[in-house]
Amino acid sequence: MDFGFKLSPSSAVNLDTVDHARYDRLVQLVPDALTCIGCGSCSATCTAAPWSGMSVRKVLLGLQRGRDDEVDSMLSKCMLCGKCTMVCPRGINTRHLILTLCRLSRKGEVVR
């Protein structure tokens, strides 16, 4: 039925209901992930970012905000070159973090 209008889904993030099981598992396996300050140097130096939108910063944030589709899409673009690890001011092994994350299902189980 056409009402002459349609409803857009809200882009708001509700932290009460967001599922962050995969993030919780990730920080168990790579506790340094917690220390990200969102400076963006990983994204700035990323060789894949200019063409693909890959960003380690956005991956970490997306996990905490329930944006799994965006996270998976970004992860699939990573070439594992490791430049992000070299520039991280908090010394997070981001390459290891990405590899660990690729092995986790959305529910946080180790699948690979």
Binding site: S11, A12, V13, N14, L15, D16, V27, P31, D32, L34, T35, C36, G38, R57, K58, L61, G62, Q64, R65, R67, R90
Partner: protein, 340 residues
């Protein structure tokens, strides 16, 4: 004057006033502490533990009080008026006495911003919204009806700071580290609680402050959300619903909390402004007292015989306040030496 010990009126017996009194006594002067409150120690006496070493605030206050035990101290005393004399100042006190002095030291400190003025945050409206001072009181007493095993706690940075509409455009400088300190303490008290900090910028510039930040993130899993809280509401269970933008992802966020702590900022003590006006001491456009210059002479006013120590000239940390109190004592010493 020549054969008499100069009398120095110190307005305010917080940590700046106490430290200055101690130094001035040691230099052979006669400081007189005038304190409006019934006790000395000022704001620090209301706090529980202090960054960066988490030492008890009471220890610092007690050591300063012990060091100034012989200084003439008038608590519960207000200044009705203050006047310029040819060679000093006279203070009319609320007990009817008049104190004549050769120098005045403003150690009047600050006022904590009245969080109820930011009505959208609901302080004084919703039960579960408290301030940094309320939380420190709870740390001291462990008694507050509003704090009952919270499962989710939020901290709002910059309440009444960097806010033109709140009348204070300045950064209060110590609230970022205080928020993280208190967030850590809350998480330690309630380990199963989720703790969120809503910040605009994190201004953590001092010795060991960054360690607090890393500890809060890595060891305690405190969540930092970069975005200013826009509004707070209450749900049917009396919990508070907080809305902000997560500016790093560019999305609005909403979270329901059992306790929301507002980090009230530092504004000038209105009494200090009133005393300053009475004796022609300039007030800066940020509302704080105006130093002769902000680099080399921050403890000196533009008037002879009037000096500043601590937060009367702007937000300060405790070590900065104590250093300024010592600096002011020395400036007063030079002032009398040069007068001969």
């Amino acid at each position: 004057m020549v054969n008499r010990t100069p009398v120095i009126a110190i307005i305010g017996a917080g940590i700046a006033g106490l430290e200055a009194a101690r130094q001035l006594s040691a230099l052979g002067y006669e400081p007189v502490l005038i304190e409006k409150a019934p006790v000395t120690g000022g704001h620090v006496a209301e706090w529980n533990r202090l960054f960066p070493d988490m030492s008890p605030a009471a220890d610092l206050v007690q050591s300063l009080e012990a060091a100034t035990a012989k200084v003439r101290t008038m608590t519960g005393t207000e200044i009705a008026s203050i006047n310029r004399l040819k060679d000093g100042y006279s203070l009319v006190l609320s007990d009817g006495n008049i104190l004549v002095c050769q120098a005045v030291l403003f150690a009047t400190g600050f006022h904590l911003f009245d969080a109820s003025k930011k009505e959208e945050y609901g302080y004084g409206i919703y039960d579960r919204v408290i301030t940094n001072r309320d939380l420190e009181q709870w740390f001291n007493t462990r008694q507050d009806e509003r704090i009952r095993h919270p499962k989710a706690v939020g901290f709002v940075h910059c309440v009444g700071s960097r806010d033109v509409k709140a009348g204070n455009t300045q950064c209060s400088k110590v609230c970022c580290i205080t928020a993280i300190k208190e967030a850590i303490e809350v998480k330690e008290a309630f380990p199963d609680a989720e703790v969120y900090c809503f910040y605009m910028d994190l201004r953590l510039y001092g010795k060991k402050y960054e360690d607090f930040y890393i500890r809060a993130q890595r060891d305690l899993g405190i969540h930092f959300i970069r975005g200013r809280v826009s509004e707070v509401g209450e749900d049917i269970d009396g919990r508070v619903v907080v809305k902000a933008e997560d500016t790093l992802s560019g999305k609005p966020v909403k979270v329901t909390l059992d306790l929301l702590v507002l980090m009230s900022g530092i504004v000038c003590n209105p009494d200090a402004q009133s005393y300053a006006q009475q004796i022609g001491v300039a007030i800066d456009d940020d509302g704080f007292l105006k130093s002769r210059n902000n680099l080399g002479s921050i403890v000196e006013s533009s008037r002879p015989g009037v000096f500043f120590a601590g937060a009367c000239t702007g937000a300060k940390t405790i070590p900065e306040t104590l250093a300024e109190a010592r600096s002011a004592a020395l400036a007063i010493h030079h002032y009398f030496n040069n007068r001969g």
